[in-house]
C-alpha cells in the first residue's frame, strides 16, 4: 500500500510539473528577454535565448518564504562560517529571493544587491515581492565595477554572494583571478564568499583552479538535483584547527531558524567538502584568458 501511495504521489508530482506554464509577464530588456511564468503554485523568472530557457529564480506563490531551488539553500551554508554577517553584497539579483531570505534571517544586516539590468529589478519588485528598505539597497551596475569601486573606497563586507548569470553562464569578467583578488580585498577578516556555479562542463576544473589560486582551499557544496556547485571561500585558512568547531557551533546555532526555510543546517554542514578533484596543471581564468562561454560548451 505505501508503495502504491508513493507512485501516486510521483504521478501527481509529474503532472503538476507538466501542467501548462502561464506567461504573466514578458519583456525585452537591454540585455535579454525576461519572462515571468506561473506554473501551478510556482512562479519563475526566466531569461531566454533561442537555444535555451534558463530559470533564474522561482518562488512558491502560497509560501514565498520556502525556497524552491536547492542552490538557494546551499548558498546559505556560508552562514555556517559566519553566522551573523552585518554587511552583505549580492551580485546578481534575479527575483530577489536571496535578498528577501537573508533579510528575514538577519534583520539587522545591511544588504546591497548589485544588478546590471534595471528591468530585472523592476520585475523582482513587481512579481517576486522583492523587498527594499533603509537597509536593503539595489544598485544598477556591473558587478565588476561595483567591486572595483568598493576596493578604491576601502569598503569591507562580511558576506559576498556571487549569483550573476547572463542566461548562458557567469559573465566571463566575473570569473577571473583578478576579479577574485578584488573580492578578497573587500572581504572582512571573517568574511565569506559564496559563489553559485555549475559542476557540469570542463569549466568546473578551470573555475576550481582559479578559486584555489586566490583563496587556497575552499568548500564545495553540491546538490545533485540541479548540478549546482556552491563555492564557499574565506580570507583565512579553512584548514585551521578551529574551523571544524566553528561549523559545528554555527550549525547548532542556526538549526532552528534555518528550518523555517526548510533548510537543514546539519545536512548543509555535512555537504561542505574540501575537494581537489581537478588536474594540477589546469589553466587559470584571468582577465587575459577567460573564454568562459566557449569552455562551458565543451
Amino acid at each position: 500500500m505505501p508503495a502504491l501511495l508513493k507512485s501516486l504521489c510521483i504521478t501527481a508530482l509529474f503532472f503538476s510539473f507538466v501542467s501548462i506554464a502561464n506567461v504573466i509577464h514578458s519583456e525585452r530588456s537591454l540585455y535579454r528577454n525576461i519572462t515571468v511564468e506561473d506554473q501551478g503554485d510556482i512562479r519563475c523568472l526566466k531569461f531566454h535565448t533561442k537555444q535555451q530557457k534558463s530559470q533564474q529564480s522561482c518562488i512558491y506563490k502560497s509560501n514565498p518564504e520556502q525556497l524552491v531551488f536547492s542552490y538557494t539553500k546551499l548558498l546559505l551554508s556560508a552562514l555556517l562560517l559566519n553566522s551573523a554577517p552585518k554587511s552583505i553584497v549580492v551580485i546578481g539579483l534575479g527575483g530577489g529571493t536571496l535578498s528577501n531570505t537573508l533579510h528575514q534571517l538577519l534583520p539587522d544586516a545591511n544588504i546591497t544587491n548589485v544588478e546590471l539590468d534595471g528591468a530585472v529589478t523592476k520585475v523582482a519588485r513587481q512579481y517576486f515581492d522583492y523587498f527594499e528598505n533603509q537597509q536593503i539597497k539595489t544598485i544598477t551596475q556591473d558587478g565588476r565595477i561595483f567591486v572595483k569601486r568598493a576596493t578604491l573606497k576601502k569598503q569591507r563586507y562580511d558576506l559576498i554572494i556571487l549569483d550573476a548569470f547572463n542566461g548562458d553562464y557567469i559573465p566571463e569578467h566575473l570569473m577571473t583571478v583578478e576579479f577574485l583578488q578584488e573580492i578578497k580585498q573587500i572581504l572582512t577578516n571573517d568574511g565569506v564568499l559564496a559563489a553559485n556555479t555549475f559542476s557540469a562542463s570542463t569549466l568546473y576544473t578551470h573555475e576550481s583552479a582559479t578559486y584555489q589560486y586566490v583563496f587556497g582551499d575552499f568548500y564545495n557544496v553540491r546538490g545533485d538535483l540541479f548540478s549546482n556547485r556552491i563555492i564557499i571561500a574565506q580570507n583565512k585558512d579553512i584548514n585551521a584547527s578551529n574551523a571544524a568547531m566553528t561549523l559545528h557551533k554555527n550549525s547548532k546555532l542556526l538549526h532552528k531558524i534555518l528550518s523555517r526555510f526548510d533548510v537543514d543546517s546539519e545536512k548543509l554542514r555535512r555537504m561542505m567538502k574540501i575537494e581537489h578533484d581537478w588536474p594540477k596543471n589546469t589553466r587559470l581564468l584571468t582577465d587575459q584568458y577567460s573564454p568562459v562561454n566557449l569552455l562551458s560548451r565543451q
Binding site: L30, Y31, L116, Q141, D142, G143, R144, I145, K148, L152, P171, E172, H173, T176, E178, F179, T286, D287, Q288, Y289, S290, P291, L294, L295
Partner: protein
C-alpha cells in the same frame, strides 16, 4: 604579383582591425563592465578613427605613391597597437579612478587605446586603391575588389579571434601577434622593388 601582394596586405589589415575591435570588449570589461555602452564606445571610436583614416589615406594618395610609403603606414600601425599590450592596465586604472560614469570612462579608454592604430589602419584602404589603379576607368572596379578583400579579412578576423584565438591564447599575445604581423608585412612592402605606374587617363 604586386597586385596579389597588395590584396594580401589589405586582407591582413582588415583581419587585424576587427580582431582588435573584438578583443576591445574583453580588454575594457575588467574596468568598465560588459554593459551595452561598452560596445557603443568601442564601435564609435573604431568608426570615427576609420573615417578619419580614410580621409587622410585618400589625401596621401594624391602625392606620388610608393610601396615604401605603404609599408611605412603598416609599420606605424603595428607599432601604434603595442601600447594596448604594454600600457592598457595603468591607463584604464587612471581613467577608472577619475571618471565615475562607465560610459565616458569606456569612451575615453577606447580613444586612448584604439584611436591611433585604427586611424593608420584606415589609411591603408584608399592608399591600396590608388596603388592598384592603373587606369582611371577601372578605379571603381579596383575599389570594389579591394573592399571585398579587406572586408573579407575583417570577417575572418572576427570569427577566428572570437571562436578560436581566445580559446588558446592570452589577449596580449593575440594583440602582439597582430602587431608583429603588420610590422612584418610593412617591412616586406618597404623592400619590394616594384615601382607603381603613373595613372593613365
Amino acid at each position: 604579383m604586386t597586385n596579389k601582394f597588395i590584396y594580401l596586405l589589405a586582407f591582413c589589415s582588415g583581419f587585424c582591425i576587427m580582431g582588435i575591435e573584438l578583443l576591445g570588449g574583453r580588454i575594457l570589461a575588467p574596468y568598465f563592465g560588459s554593459s551595452i555602452h561598452i560596445w557603443g564606445s568601442i564601435i564609435t571610436v573604431f568608426m570615427l578613427s576609420l573615417s578619419i583614416g580614410y580621409l587622410l589615406g585618400g589625401k596621401l594618395s594624391t602625392s606620388p605613391v610608393s610601396l615604401k610609403r605603404y609599408g611605412v603606414i603598416f609599420i606605424v600601425a603595428g607599432i601604434a597597437i603595442l601600447p594596448i599590450v604594454y600600457f592598457a592596465q595603468p591607463l584604464m586604472e587612471i581613467i577608472f579612478i577619475h571618471i565615475e560614469d562607465s560610459r565616458y570612462g569606456s569612451l575615453l579608454a577606447s580613444i586612448a587605446l584604439f584611436f591611433i592604430p585604427t586611424l593608420f589602419l584606415g589609411m591603408l584602404s584608399p592608399y591600396s586603391v590608388r596603388l592598384l589603379t592603373t587606369h582611371q576607368d577601372h578605379s571603381g572596379n579596383v575599389a570594389g575588389k579591394l573592399y571585398f578583400i579587406s572586408t573579407l579579412g575583417s570577417a575572418f578576423g572576427t570569427i577566428v579571434t572570437s571562436f578560436y584565438l581566445v580559446l588558446y591564447f592570452d589577449l596580449n599575445n593575440i594583440v602582439f601577434s597582430f602587431s608583429a604581423t603588420l610590422i612584418l608585412l610593412g617591412f616586406t612592402a618597404y623592400f619590394q622593388r616594384y615601382s607603381i605606374t603613373a595613372l593613365t587617363q
